[in-house]
């Protein structure tokens, strides 16, 4: 069971850490101060959640969270590619936030009933935090997705760019059956199905439109360590100080 569980925890922890890192890049750069603050809050939540998941992994025999987060190379990370893409303009960041956090909120909702109690307990906490993230995303989607010609066009374009990557969130793990059988997790396929209807219900309240799902090709690879060219530079930056002396205390 441990191998399957660890794989699940790693990919979720890595997702949180990497997207938290990207969110934190908005600090001081946001379109308005309120958004600087909101993205920073979400960054803190995500990185904190990542830390809690790495801490859970430590109880299963993995290295301490700092070592795991700050010393691995890109091919050892299991996050989906969506979260590692650069922030680009605010439109892309918002769309990613919406697509990813909608999936997250559902994922941790399901995990709060996991048969693995330590994860269920943590998921109940994380679920509560994610409610604010989806509320934030949905409100902004509804506002900007129906406001000006420019805002609608920008979001539409970003949505089309991001969707194939968003489908990569649900790249199946080699242990799906085991996780489902042992009632640890509902599985990526079921999660994706719920997510699609969630996304549709919000997009339908805007002037944006979703392409036909069948025409989309998911971008996979992240879950097995095959990443875009953007992840390694992110990790190099993240560990720049830590690597000066990994044995030192900072």
């Amino acid at each position: 069971m441990n191998t399957a569980l660890k794989e699940l925890l790693y990919k979720m922890a890595d997702d949180q850490l990497i997207l938290g890192h990207r969110n934190s890049e908005w600090t001081g750069m946001g379109p308005l101060l309120e958004e600087d603050i909101a993205f920073s809050s979400m960054a803190q939540d995500k990185i904190g959640q990542g830390l809690a998941l790495y801490t859970l992994l430590q109880t299963l025999g993995e290295s301490d969270p700092d070592t795991v987060a700050f010393t691995r190379n890109a091919n050892q990370f299991h996050n989906c590619i969506l979260v590692e893409l650069p922030n680009q303009e605010y439109d892309f960041s918002l769309i990613r936030h919406f697509l990813f956090d909608s999936a997250e909120a559902l994922r941790f909702e399901y995990l709060s009933h996991s048969s693995y109690e330590p994860l269920a307990q943590l998921a109940r906490k994380i679920r509560g935090e994610l409610r604010y993230h989806t509320l934030h995303a949905n409100t902004w989607m509804k506002q900007l997705g129906s406001a000006t010609e420019e805002s609608i066009a920008r979001l539409q374009n970003a949505l089309e760019v991001a969707l194939p990557y968003a489908l990569g969130i649900f790249e199946a793990s080699p242990y799906e059956t085991e996780l489902i059988d042992k009632k640890i997790f509902i599985g990526e396929a079921a999660l994706k199905e719920k997510w699609v209807s969630k996304i549709e219900s919000v997009i339908n309240q805007t002037q944006l439109h979703l392409p036909d799902w069948k025409t989309l090709t998911p971008v996979y690879g992240g879950r097995i360590g095959k990443h875009s060219e953007h992840l390694q530079p992110l990790l190099d930056e993240m560990s720049e100080v830590f690597r000066i002396d990994p044995a030192a205390e900072w």
Partner: protein, 327 residues
């Protein structure tokens, strides 16, 4: 994080002659009694103008001040530091939000203030025009620049303008927690490896001159501020603030075994600190735009504003408001 030392140009008190003498006397009597002035109260034009200038500079200092530390969020070593630094820098942006609201109660809009910032018309704390080369530079800011700001802000919190004082009370509570974080970071560098100690010593060498500038020019050459002191806009002279900072923090820096790069720094028999006179020509040069990072800092702000333009436009449709007034 604001040093309050940027009130550099002289103040023209001519406009005071046009104020109603009775109103002016009543206003000054209220301040004398320790009352707070509120947004709808009568106030002289000069008071309003000076307060806007000061609160606006303070607010700008918070958002520009978020940049040199902010660049280290993505590089902070380890979860603990990363989480704390993110929260700290977020607080600074929150301070800007509070302060812009406080200044808006005096009749200048946030948009106008930000325009004046990116057009170079209004100033911010000079110290943020210096670069953070290493993690230790970031730690210097978190500890000592915050400490300097607290010295100034605690004094200003006893000032006369209600909304600014209330904002400062909240800001000071948060800053005192930041200060603990910054101090911890430096303690770890001090008690760490030779390399870590050296990193901080080098940061201290780089940042000491701008830190001395932080509180503004020496009283000997400083512009006339009597009226601002009487109105409790300015709560202490630049030299008083600097002396208070030195008194509180020089012993702490020495305690950690670091060397402050000023051979003349010592406390004299009367309890005042003596030091090599800071280079005020450099201060003037930097504050007028010719510092190592002035262009970069404003450019970042300008780009952020330009890239966010379409978002702010889209928020106006349908008409919405996102500003919560403080008062």
């Amino acid at each position: 994080m604001y040093g309050g030392g940027n009130t550099f140009e002289g103040i023209k008190t001519d406009s005071l002659a046009q104020e109603d003498p009775g109103m002016l006397a009543a206003f000054e009597a209220r301040i004398e009694r320790g009352e707070k002035i509120e947004p709808s109260d009568w106030m002289p034009q000069l008071y309003r103008k000076q307060l806007i200038r000061m609160i606006e500079q303070h607010a700008h200092s918070e958002i520009i001040g978020a940049l040199p530390e902010g660049t280290w969020i993505t590089r902070a070593p380890g979860f603990k530091r990363k989480m704390a630094l993110m929260a700290k820098v977020q607080d600074e942006v929150g301070h800007a939000q509070l302060l812009y609201s406080a200044a808006e109660t005096l009749g200048k809009s946030r948009e106008q203030m930000i325009d004046d910032l990116i057009n170079g018309k209004s100033k911010y704390s000079n110290i943020f025009n210096y670069p953070t080369f290493t993690w230790a530079d970031c730690c210097f800011i978190s500890w000592l620049v915050d400490a300097g700001a607290i010295v100034n802000q605690l004094a200003n919190a006893k000032g006369s303008y209600g909304p600014y004082c209330r904002a400062l009370d909240r800001i000071c509570a948060e800053e005192s927690f930041h200060l603990k974080y910054g101090h911890h970071c430096v303690i770890y560098l001090a008690s760490g490896t030779a390399k870590q100690r050296q990193m901080f010593q080098e940061a201290l060498n780089r940042w000491w001159p701008p830190m001395m500038h932080f509180f503004g020019p020496s009283d000997k050459i400083s512009a006339h501020t009597e009226v601002l002191m009487r109105w409790k806009v300015k709560m202490g002279t630049n030299d008083e603030m600097r002396n208070q900072f030195l008194d509180m923090y020089v012993p702490k820096i020495w305690e950690l075994g670091f060397t402050i790069p000023d051979p003349n720094l010592k406390k004299n028999e009367s309890g005042k600190w003596e030091y090599t006179e800071p280079d005020w020509e450099e201060f003037k040069r930097v504050i007028n735009g010719d510092g190592p990072c002035n262009k970069e800092r404003l450019e970042v702000r300008r780009v952020a504003e330009a890239r966010g333009q379409w978002v702010r436009e889209a928020l106006k449709t349908p008409k919405t408001s996102y500003v919560t007034p403080l008062a």
